[in-house]
Every structure is written in structure tokens, then in C-alpha cells.
Symmetry: D3
């Protein structure tokens, strides 16, 4: 069993808020992250899969295939987008790093399995000081 | 003559577009950076000042004072904000990294001089692959 | 179950030595790290907590609260301090990275639980080439 | 139980290919990584060992000893070398990051045990976007 | 006048040697870098151009155009290649970082001028500890 | 004319204070950096030299020679030392980053010239947020 990780990046806008909260309540709970005019981040995404090394190729998975799959299913939906308004798998969810990591896991887990790789971890870095890791429930 | 640099960071939303362009023209010239629903970045800002070392303190400038000045005049106006809509010194300007660097220079050059430090360079990094440097005109 | 990590930093002096060793023995066992006139480091601390995402906020834990707790209980005691002489939770302990990581764990585990978050890992980096991880015993 | 990690680096040449594949097949499966005239990388190696803290020294393991062992058994064999042609423990293996990580594990696991440390993880970074982790089988 | 920098990366094999030196002389002058079986690096390239901001676009130069030009004229010739054997603009030159930086300058300076941008600096990093900067002669 | 930079690192203790100031005055001017029990840093040092490429070797200067000279004249005096108490070239000087950079310049400028390389810049990073550059007076 071996683990391989691919890093990808995307730049997106978002805000943290609940529509059933007043502006004051949103500001109190989410602070400056609830700015109604948005802010954004350079997100770093680390996708880790696990499996056996294929003795024919020496690979767990072809990195080009892995990268293309992440690009198609995740990055193209998030890069230079508004997480709250434009990302189908984040519809009606709070755009927190936690929920975004779980959403990305859900997008990737089945297609990766079809590729013969088992998704092990989604690590999502919002700033150099904060990151979230999700290993499935 | 010595040079000292302070790094600060801010997270902001922006878009690149001209209101006198059609949507098609904006997309053609600015690509995905013109997304009308915004995107954003973790900006890294490096402020370099130059001057003589004060023999009394061994400092060119007190870094806490320098940091506080950058925070007050620049970071507080940009962090968790929309560069196009909320930043006074970017009003009616294209929110490119180039213009943002020049805007930050103009905010800091006089107050730094009053502090006894001469602004030498504004370096502004938009992503790990792109940065702009401005040394005054 | 999700994991969230907060990075904090502190700059401190320390030395490695045993008072029951001769100077020669200290130099032999601890090398240049036993310099009696101290040396120091920019330590990087990564605090990882685990738990469930609160459906109300989308958060495992509010990062501002987490950061403030780490600042109050750990960083304020270590930053710009002498680890051997000034840090209550390191009294009578060898100031190794291992012991420092365990000491920080012990400071944080109960207060974090009261905050509703379970401490999962303390990662402490002494240089770019060395780090320690502690997950509790 | 505590975990300590030492980072080391080496620069090496390699290529991915099978001698029982035609050139076309190699290019198809391994892409530009199969260039017959080689390419190379700055590899970053993270060796993590686990164990108990020695109450006498505050160490899990003396880092200088750990570093010297990695240097002798691994780095000296790989640094400024051709992984396919010059590295004894990679003979007749595909020079993938996966196989290289497993090969390094096999070189270190027994000598580390004799040092009183249990090897926990080999993490090998080929580029800033790709890395492999191996924890033993 | 403003300066904008684009980072690109390539992975390549090379060796340092002179065919008019004996193997012993090559080893003496170039050390392990003269290994006849090659070694390699993850090179980081920073291309800095200078010019005026276009008031119409807010750009000094369109970064996508700049990146494409560097990719076409430099990266495609170097990435996953052997610098000594396969790179036209390094033919009959010692494959040192210095010569490689000068070679890249010469490839880019005229095409960039035709793009309306003046090449200011080529910075080429061979490892995390060494880099070369060339500003033209 | 080309520029080559070598990075070296050292870990040291220091404090900022004047013996002709009261403790209160030191705390007021230098803040927590004046802690009488010391603190410390992982300093990063970038030494840049300039000159012509030697057509025989392709080098401006042999990096191994450059690194050894910096190690002998600077790093061995600073690493795991107390800057205020143990460093000959900092005697009777305030241990600020500015003064340390100037002190390192003075140690290196003549020996580098004898090596045939002209010292161009000393860049000294105290933390990830602060650095000083000195180009000679």
C-alpha cells in the first residue's frame, strides 16, 4: 500500500454567511469573512490516493490522468469562480473550508475508484496559516 | 544606506474588466479574470524602505511602527474586501496587480517619509507565479 | 469527522544540557546545541484539532477562537522567551523539540476540549529540516 | 510515542521506461518522463521515525546520528547520480517515485531499528506538485 | 515604469564537464556535478520584464501571452530534456546555471521586445541554495 | 556581468538593548526583543556576488569555494551562538538585523575580492516577515 499526492491550485471568491441571520449576526459569527461584497483566496488543494504499485508501470496511478481528472471535476468548477454562487456541488452550503473540502471529496471519490485509485485525503489550504483535512466519514 | 523589507498579507476579491467593453470584449481581453461574479487572491505585499541605520537604536526604522503604518493605511483597506468596490485609492481604476501596486505606493510614500524612511519598492504577489514590483516613477 | 490545523509562530532561545552532566559530557551528547550562552530558533507550530462540522456555521471550530486560545496559552509564554528559564510548563525539563511539543499538547488538550474541539496533533518545526509530531500517548 | 522527521535532499537523473516496450509504447505510457536522454529532479526526502522520548536526553533519537545514517545509506547513493544506472537498490526496477520511496524504506528500516528507532514513513517529493508516502506494507 | 515577473519551472538533466579535460580534471574542477551518467534538477525560472502600464488594460503585458511565449521559446526546449545534448541554444556551451541563464535571456530578449515588453532580468534557481541573475551585459 | 547567490542558514540567540538605557527604556524602545534572558532566530543569509563568467568553467565562482568561505568566515562564528556575547565582529554593536548584515558584509567583502568575486548584496532574513539588504555604502 502506497500513497500519492497531487497538488493543484485555484483562485476563488467567497463569503461566509447565513441568509437566515441578520447582517449583525453574520458579522458577529463570521467576522470580516461575511463581507457582503466578497473576498477571496488562492486555495491549495492536495489530493491523496492510496493503492498498490502496478508492477508493470511502477505507478500507483498515472499522475497525468489523476491531474486531468481533478482539473475536470474540481478545478474547472472553482478556479476564478464565486464559491457561493457558481459551484454546483456547493449549492445551499456554507462556503467554509470544511464544507469545501467535503464537497471536493464527494466529487472525486467515485471517479477515482473507477480509475482504480482509492481516495485517502483531501487537504485544502485557505491561507498559509489554516488548512483542513478530510478522510471521508 | 540599507534596505529593510516588511511582508504583510491580505485576502481580497476582484475582477478585471472595463465598463465600456462588452462582456465578449472583457472575456477576450481579460479571460477568466473578468468573471462578473468575482474571484480572489491571497496577496503577499513586500514593502521595502531605505535609509541610514540610526546609531542609537541600530534600526533603519522600528519594524513595529512600520508594520502598524502599513496595516492602517493599506491592509485594513484591502483585507477581506472587494478591490473594485470598496478600496478608496482604487476607485475608477482597473484592479490589476500593476495598478494595485502603484496605488499602495501612493498611499505609503508620504507617510513613510514623515516617519523618516524612504519608500524604495512595493512588491505585490498575486499568485506563486506572478508578482509586480514598483519603485516609483 | 474533519481535521483543521492552525499555524502559529514563536521565536525563542534555548539550550540542551543536563545540570548533572559535566560541560564535556553536555558537549558530547548535545553538541553545539548545549552552548551555555544559548542559541535560538523561529519555531513553527501546527495545532490540529478534529471533530464534526457544525451544520449551523460550517465550522469545526471558529479559527479566531482557536488562534486566540493558542496565543494565550502557548505563544505568549514562548515568544521572545528563554525556553529553559521562563516557560512554566517546561520547568525542570530538557528543552528538546520533543519535550516542547509534549508540553504544548498538555497546555492545550483540556482547554480545547472545553471549546468542543479534540486536540489531534501538535507539530513543532525547529528548523526547515527537523520537526516533531505528537498525537498524545 | 512521538514522531520525529528529518528532511534531506538529493539531485538525480532518471527516466521511466521498460526495455520490453518499444519506444512508441514507452512514450505512450510514460510520456516525456521516458526521454531516452534522461531528465532529473531536486528530490526532497522526509524520513519519519517513531518511538519513546529518552528521559535522559529528551530525544527520541539524536538527529545528527539520524542524519548521518540517512546520508550514508541513501543520500550518498542517490545525490548527483543516475537512478536507473547507478543505484544498487534500484537495479532492475522502474525508477518511479513510488519504487524509489519503497527502495529507500528498505535501505533504512533495519539500520534504524538497530539505532533504537522505528521507521514510520518515507515521504519523497519529486516536484512541488507530486509526492509519495510509504509506511511499510 | 513597472516590473512584472512570471515564474515557470522545468525539470532537466545535465552535467558539468569539458571534453578537453581528462576525467580526473573534470572531477577536480566540477566535483560530483561532472558525473558522466548525468544528474538533474527542478529548475525555477523567473522572467522579469519592465515597461509602462497600458492605461486601457491596466497591464504592462498580458501574463497569458508572456507565459505562452516563455513556454514556447524556453520551457518546451528544456523540460524533461538533457541540457547538454538536446537544447539548441546550449550547444557547445558548458551547462552551468550561469550559461543557462544567459542562454535563456538571448532566446527571450528580442521576442519580448516585439511584444512591447523589455526583458529586465532572468533569475534561474538550480536548488533552494543557489541561483543566478542576469540583467543583460 | 552576472550575479550568483548562495543561501546559508544559522540559528542564534540575541537581544536588542543598550546598557546605557534603563530596563524600562529598553522595553519601551525595543519591546519584547529586549528580553534580558534572550530569544533567538533561524536566520537565512543570501550572499550575492557579481562578476564575469569564466569561459573555461562556465562559472562566475565555484559554489563550493564560495560556500566554504561563507561557512568559515561567517556561519561558524554565528551558528548556535549568542550574537551579543560571542561574535567578534558584533562586539559593542547593537545586535539588530541591520548591524548584523553590515557586519557580515565587512567580514566577506575583502576575502571574496581575493577569490575574484565582487560582493554585491548581503540579504539577511530574521523571520518570514522581515529582512534586510545591504549593498555596501
Amino acid at each position: 500500500m502506497i500513497y500519492i499526492t497531487r497538488r493543484e491550485r485555484f483562485n476563488a471568491a467567497h463569503r461566509l454567511f447565513r441568509s437566515d441571520y441578520s447582517d449583525e449576526k453574520n458579522a458577529e459569527v463570521f467576522g470580516k469573512c461575511s463581507n457582503p461584497l466578497w473576498h477571496g483566496h488562492n486555495y491549495e488543494l492536495f489530493v491523496t490516493v492510496k493503492g498498490e504499485v502496478d508492477p508493470e508501470t511502477g505507478f500507483l496511478v498515472n499522475l497525468k490522468t489523476l491531474s486531468l481528472l481533478i482539473e475536470t471535476l474540481v478545478i474547472s468548477k472553482l478556479d476564478h469562480k464565486n464559491v457561493n454562487l457558481e459551484v454546483d456541488f456547493m449549492k445551499d452550503k456554507l462556503a467554509s473550508t470544511e464544507n469545501l473540502a467535503i464537497g471536493i471529496w464527494n466529487e472525486l471519490v467515485t471517479p477515482l475508484r473507477e480509475l482504480g485509485a482509492e481516495l485517502y485525503c483531501i487537504k485544502l489550504c485557505e491561507t498559509e496559516n489554516n488548512f483542513v483535512e478530510y478522510f471521508g466519514n
